[in-house]
C-alpha cells in the first residue's frame, strides 16, 4: 500500500472519527478550523471517508488508516510519559505533534522500544502493529513487560496495567508499585521476581501486566514524575 501522505489536519480528523466511535475518556487532538475543509476534501478524495446519512464515516481503507494514526498518537504519549517523563499539558500537546513524525516503520521501532505496550497512559487500547505479533527477542528496549525480561535482568516498575481491576489492587497491595525495583529470577515454571527484599511468583499473564523500565548506566538520577500525574484538561475550545 502506498504511503498516503496525509496532511496533519487530515490525520487528526481521521483519529477524531475513530475516537468518537471508541467513546473513551480521551479527547482528540485539536484541528485548526481554517484547514478543516481542505482536510475533509483530502480524506474524501483519498477514499478514506465517505458521507453516510449526512455524517462523515470511515471507509474500510479509512478504518485501517485511522487505526494507524491512533496507534502512532498513543505510542507517542507512552514514549513521552515513560521515557521522557513529560507530564500534563506538555506531554499531551507534544504527543499531538510528535505522532506525525512516527511514520510507517518508526512507530514499530518505538513500539518495540517500549515493550509493545497495550494501552496508552489514559488507559485506552493501542491498536497493535505488525511488530507486536512477531514477539521475537529484540535488543535495545527501554521498557519491557516483566514477561519479556531475561532472568537476571533488573529494572524499576514503570506501570502496571490489567484488565481486571481486582488484579491491579492485589498487585498494588503486594507492593508492585511504580518505582519499585525488581529483579527477575526465573521464568519457568512460573515467573519469580525479587521485589525489594521479598520474592513474588506470578503466571505469564500477570507478568505481562507489569511493565518495567530497564536499568542501565544512562538512567537519570533525577526522580521521575509519576506516570499517572494529574492530567490537566488539554482541550481545544468548545465548538
Amino acid at each position: 500500500m502506498p504511503e498516503p501522505g496525509l496532511s496533519e489536519a487530515a490525520e487528526e480528523l481521521l483519529a477524531g472519527l475513530w475516537l468518537a466511535r471508541e467513546n473513551g475518556p480521551e479527547p482528540p487532538c485539536p484541528v485548526d478550523e481554517a484547514s478543516r475543509p481542505a482536510a475533509v476534501r483530502e480524506l474524501v478524495e483519498a477514499g478514506l471517508v465517505e458521507e453516510r446519512e449526512g455524517l462523515p464515516s470511515l471507509t474500510p481503507a479509512g478504518e485501517a488508516e485511522a487505526s494507524a494514526v491512533v496507534r502512532r498518537e498513543r505510542l507517542a504519549e507512552r514514549l513521552l510519559a515513560d521515557v521522557l517523563a513529560l507530564g500534563d499539558q506538555l506531554a499531551s500537546e507534544a504527543a499531538c505533534r510528535f505522532e506525525h513524525l512516527l511514520r510507517r516503520g518508526i512507530d514499530d521501532r518505538i513500539c518495540t522500544l517500549l515493550g509493545h505496550p497495550r494501552v496508552c497512559p489514559h488507559g485506552s487500547p493501542i491498536p497493535p502493529g505488525a511488530c507486536c505479533q512477531v514477539g521475537a527477542e529484540e535488543a535495545g528496549k527501554v521498557v519491557s513487560s516483566l514477561a519479556d525480561l531475561t532472568p537476571g535482568q533488573r529494572g524499576v516498575i514503570a506501570y502496571v496495567h490489567s484488565r481486571r481491576r481486582e488484579m491491579l489492587h492485589r498487585l498494588l497491595a503486594m507492593g508492585a508499585l511504580p518505582g519499585a525495583p525488581v529483579l527477575l529470577r526465573q521464568r519457568f515454571p512460573s515467573y519469580v521476581f525479587d521485589l525489594g527484599q521479598g520474592q513474588i511468583a506470578v503466571d505469564q499473564e500477570t507478568a505481562r501486566d507489569i511493565y518495567v523500565r530497564l536499568s542501565d548506566e544512562r538512567a537519570s538520577t533525577r526522580p521521575r514524575r509519576a506516570w499517572f500525574a494529574p492530567r490537566l484538561r488539554r482541550r481545544r475550545g468548545r465548538g
Binding site: H169, L171, A229, P230
Partner: protein
C-alpha cells in the same frame, strides 16, 4: 448454683470473663482489654499470638490458610488480655474473604490496641498498611518481627526512629526465637497510647476530595472520616455499603465528588493513593533501616529455598518430598501404627473382650450385633475409626504441617501452576489438592482459598473424583506395595483420569482462566511446637467430624441388616461389581464407601487380607474405590460449600465414571493377560 454465680461475678470483676457486651466503649474490669493482631500473611502473626497466649492457633506460610480467627487469653502480670489473631490482610480495602474478616474485626469490635505485625525485611513494603491503620485513627502499636532474618540480610532496624516518625510504640521482635517478647508484653499491657498525628499527604485533587467527603460524613462509622473518604475514593464496596446504611442521603453527593476526582486521573484512584502511601513509607523506612553490613552468607535454608523453585532442581526435589509423604503415611502410618493398633490392640485384646462383655450384657443376638457384630459399632465402627483411619490421618497431617510451616507449599504452588492451568486451576490449588491426600472433606473446605467460583468448583470436583484420601492411600499402598507394576498402573490410571477430567472441565466450564500470584516466603525450619499443635487441632476437627459418622455408618448398616434393606442393596450392586470383575463380597465395600469413602477401602483391605481378592481384580477394585463417589461427610461439605445442585452434579458424573473406568480397566487387564 450460688457458687457458680459467685464464680461468674468474680470472673467478671477480675476481667477473666467479658460481660458479653461487645459495645462496652472502654476496657473495664467487666470487659478485658482486647488486642487485635493485624498484618499481612507470612509475618509470624500466629507465632506472636502463640507466644502471647500460650494457646494454639493455626500457623501457616500460605496466604489464606488462617481463614479462621484465633482468639485466646494472655495473662500479663495481673492483667488479662483478650488476644485476637486476624487473617492475613495486605490492605484495608478488602479483596479476599480473609481481608473482609480482618477488616470487620478491626472496625466492628471495640479494641484497646491493634498490634500491626510486620516483617522487618519488608518494612518499606509493609508500612503502607501501618499508615492506613493510622489513618483509621485506631490505637496502634507496631511489632517489627523476624528481625533475625533482617539482621542476616545486613539490615538493622532503629525502632526508636520508627516510633518517632510514626508516633506509635514500636517494638522489634524475633517471636519464633523468643527475642523482644518482654518489651512486647510491656507495650501491649500499657494503657492505650496517645493517638498519633501522622498523616499521609496525597496529591491536591485527592486531598480536596477527601476534605469534601469528610465534611459530609457524620454518622458513627468506627473509622475516621479521612480513612472512610479514602476507601470511598477507591470505590471500596464495603465502605459504600456502610455509607448507604448510615447516611443514604449523602451518597449521591459523595459519588459526584469521587467521579470528579477520578476524572483528574487516567487510572483508578487506588493508584495515586497507593503511590503516595508508598512514598511516605519509603521515607520512613529509609530513616529507620540501616544497612549495617553485607548480607550474611546464604544459609542452607536459603540455598534449598532457591533450589526448590529452580526449574530443574525444584522438580527433581519433588520425588523426594513425595517419598517423605510415602514413608510417613505409608510406612509409619499404614505399616507400623495400623498394624499395632488394628491387629494387636483391637484384634487380639479389645475385640474379643468387648464381644464377650457385650454378649453377656445383651443376650439378644440382634441387639448385640449392633455393638459387636460383623458391622458392630464397637468392633467395626470404632475399630476402623481409631485403629485404621486415625493413625493414617495423623501421620498425614503431621507431614502436611511440616510442609506448610517450612514454606515449601507456596513453592510447590509455583512449580505446579503451569500444569494446573491446563486443568482449570491455578498453582494455589495445590494446597487443597495435597491436603486432599489427607482428608478430602477438609480439603473441600480449604478450596475457599481459591480465587474464583469456577476454580473452586473444578477443585471440588477433582478432589471428589481422583484424589485418594490418606485412609484410601494407606490401604492402597499397603495392599499394592508388594506389586510395583500394580502400583504404577493404579497411579497411572488415576492420574490420567485426574488430568483428563480437569482438562475437560476447564474447557467446558465458562468463565475466565484463574490468575496466579503469590508471595514466596523464605524456607524456614518449622517449630516442632507449632507443627504438633497444628496437627493436633486438625486431628481434633477430624475426630469430631469423623467418629460420629463412622458410628452413624455402623448404625445405618445395622438398620439395613435388620430391615433386610442392606442385603437387598448389596444384591442390587452385585451385578455392577461383577461387571468390573470383582467378587460378590466387594459389593458391600462399595456400599460402605457411600457412607464413608475410607470405610470402603478398609473393607477391601479386610476382604483382601482374607484372600478374597488378588491380581487384576484387586487393582480394579483399588482404582474404582479411588474414583468412586465421595464419602458421606465429603458430600455434605460439598453441598454446604458449593450448593446442592453442584454436589449432585458432581455425584452424577463420578458414579458412572468410576465404574466405567473400572470396567474398561478390567477388560484391558484381562484382555492383555496382565499378571500382577
Amino acid at each position: 448454683m450460688t457458687a457458680r454465680a459467685l464464680e461468674f461475678v468474680r470472673d467478671l470483676l477480675t476481667g477473666r470473663r467479658g460481660c458479653g457486651c461487645d459495645t462496652c466503649p472502654v476496657a473495664s474490669p467487666l470487659r478485658p482489654r482486647k488486642l487485635l493482631l493485624f498484618g499481612s500473611p507470612n509475618v509470624g502473626k500466629s507465632v506472636v499470638f502463640n507466644q502471647l497466649t500460650g494457646s494454639y492457633a493455626v500457623v501457616s506460610n500460605y496466604p489464606g490458610t488462617t481463614v479462621e480467627v484465633a482468639r485466646g487469653r494472655a495473662r500479663l502480670g495481673d492483667l488479662w488480655l483478650e488476644v485476637v489473631d486476624s487473617p492475613g490482610a495486605y490492605s484495608l480495602a478488602p479483596l479476599s474473604e480473609d481481608e473482609q474478616v480482618a477488616q470487620r474485626l478491626l472496625l466492628e469490635e471495640p479494641l484497646d490496641l491493634v498490634l500491626h505485625v510486620v516483617d522487618a525485611k519488608h518494612l518499606a513494603r509493609m508500612l503502607p498498611l501501618t499508615l492506613q491503620l493510622l489513618e483509621a485513627r485506631l490505637p496502634l502499636a507496631l511489632d517489627v518481627n523476624i528481625i533475625d532474618e533482617a539482621e542476616r540480610a545486613g539490615l538493622r532496624v532503629d525502632s526508636q526512629a520508627l516510633s518517632r516518625s510514626l508516633g506509635v510504640p514500636v517494638v522489634a521482635t524475633a517471636a519464633a526465637r523468643g527475642v523482644g517478647l518482654e518489651r512486647l508484653r510491656a507495650v501491649v499491657s500499657e494503657p492505650a497510647p496517645a493517638m498519633s498525628t501522622f498523616t499521609v499527604e496525597y496529591p491536591p485533587p485527592i486531598e480536596s476530595a477527601i476534605g469534601q467527603i469528610a465534611k459530609l460524613l457524620s454518622g458513627d462509622y468506627r473509622n475516621s472520616p479521612r480513612a472512610l473518604a479514602l476507601l470511598l475514593l477507591q470505590r471500596d464496596h464495603g465502605a459504600r455499603a456502610r455509607l448507604l446504611r448510615t447516611q443514604p442521603e449523602v451518597a449521591a453527593e459523595v459519588d459526584r465528588i469521587v467521579a470528579a476526582a477520578e476524572s483528574e486521573y487516567a487510572q483508578p484512584l487506588a493508584f495515586p493513593i497507593a503511590l503516595s502511601r508508598q512514598q511516605a513509607a519509603d521515607r520512613i523506612a529509609r530513616r529507620a533501616l540501616e544497612q549495617a553490613g553485607p548480607p550474611a552468607r546464604a544459609t542452607l535454608a536459603e540455598v534449598l529455598g532457591r533450589l526448590s523453585i529452580h526449574p530443574v532442581a525444584g522438580i527433581a526435589m519433588l520425588p523426594a518430598v513425595l517419598l517423605l509423604i510415602y514413608l510417613v503415611v505409608g510406612r509409619l502410618g499404614a505399616g507400623v501404627m495400623v498394624d499395632y493398633l488394628d491387629k494387636g490392640l483391637f484384634g487380639r485384646h479389645l475385640n474379643p473382650a468387648l464381644t464377650g462383655f457385650v454378649s453377656q450384657l445383651l443376650p439378644w443376638p440382634t441387639w448385640a450385633a449392633l455393638f459387636v457384630g460383623e458391622y458392630g459399632l464397637l468392633t467395626l465402627g470404632l475399630r476402623y475409626a481409631l485403629a485404621i483411619i486415625l493413625p493414617l490421618v495423623a501421620a498425614f497431617f503431621l507431614t502436611f504441617a511440616v510442609l506448610e510451616d517450612s514454606g515449601y507449599l507456596p513453592r510447590l504452588a509455583l512449580l505446579a501452576d503451569r500444569l494446573f492451568k491446563r486443568i482449570g486451576l491455578s498453582g494455589r490449588a495445590i494446597i487443597p489438592m495435597v491436603l486432599g491426600l489427607g482428608c478430602d472433606t477438609m480439603a473441600t473446605v480449604v478450596t475457599r482459598v481459591l480465587g474464583s467460583r469456577r476454580e473452586r468448583l473444578i477443585a471440588t470436583f477433582l478432589l471428589a473424583l481422583a484424589i485418594p484420601c490418606s485412609a484410601q492411600l494407606g490401604v492402597i499402598l499397603g495392599l499394592l506395595s508388594g506389586h510395583p507394576l500394580g502400583l504404577i498402573i493404579w497411579a497411572g490410571v488415576v492420574l490420567s483420569v485426574l488430568l483428563t477430567s480437569g482438562f475437560l472441565a476447564a474447557r467446558l466450564l465458562p468463565g475466565e482462566r484463574p490468575r496466579f500470584y503469590l508471595e514466596v516466603p523464605p524456607l524456614r525450619l518449622p517449630s516442632p511446637r507449632n507443627v504438633l499443635l497444628k496437627t493436633y487441632s486438625r486431628l481434633k476437627w477430624y475426630a469430631a467430624e469423623v467418629i460420629p459418622l463412622f458410628l452413624l455408618a455402623s448404625v445405618l448398616i445395622w438398620v439395613g441388616e435388620v430391615t433386610r434393606l442392606f442385603p437387598l442393596l448389596v444384591a442390587a450392586l452385585r451385578p455392577l461389581v461383577g461387571a468390573i470383575g470383582l467378587p460378590a463380597q466387594a459389593a458391600d465395600a462399595f456400599l460402605f464407601g457411600f457412607l464413608r469413602r475410607d470405610y470402603g477401602a478398609a473393607r477391601i483391605f479386610d476382604i483382601s487380607s482374607g484372600g478374597g481378592l488378588s491380581g487384576p481384580a484387586l487393582l480394579v477394585a483399588m482404582v474404582t474405590i479411588t474414583l468412586f463417589i465421595p464419602c458421606l461427610a465429603q458430600f455434605l461439605v460439598m453441598q454446604k460449600e458449593r450448593g446442592l445442585r453442584a454436589a449432585l452434579a458432581v455425584g452424577a458424573i463420578i458414579l458412572p465414571l468410576a465404574f466405567g473406568v473400572g470396567f474398561a480397566l478390567n477388560l484391558l487387564l484381562v484382555g492383555l493377560r496382565v499378571q500382577i
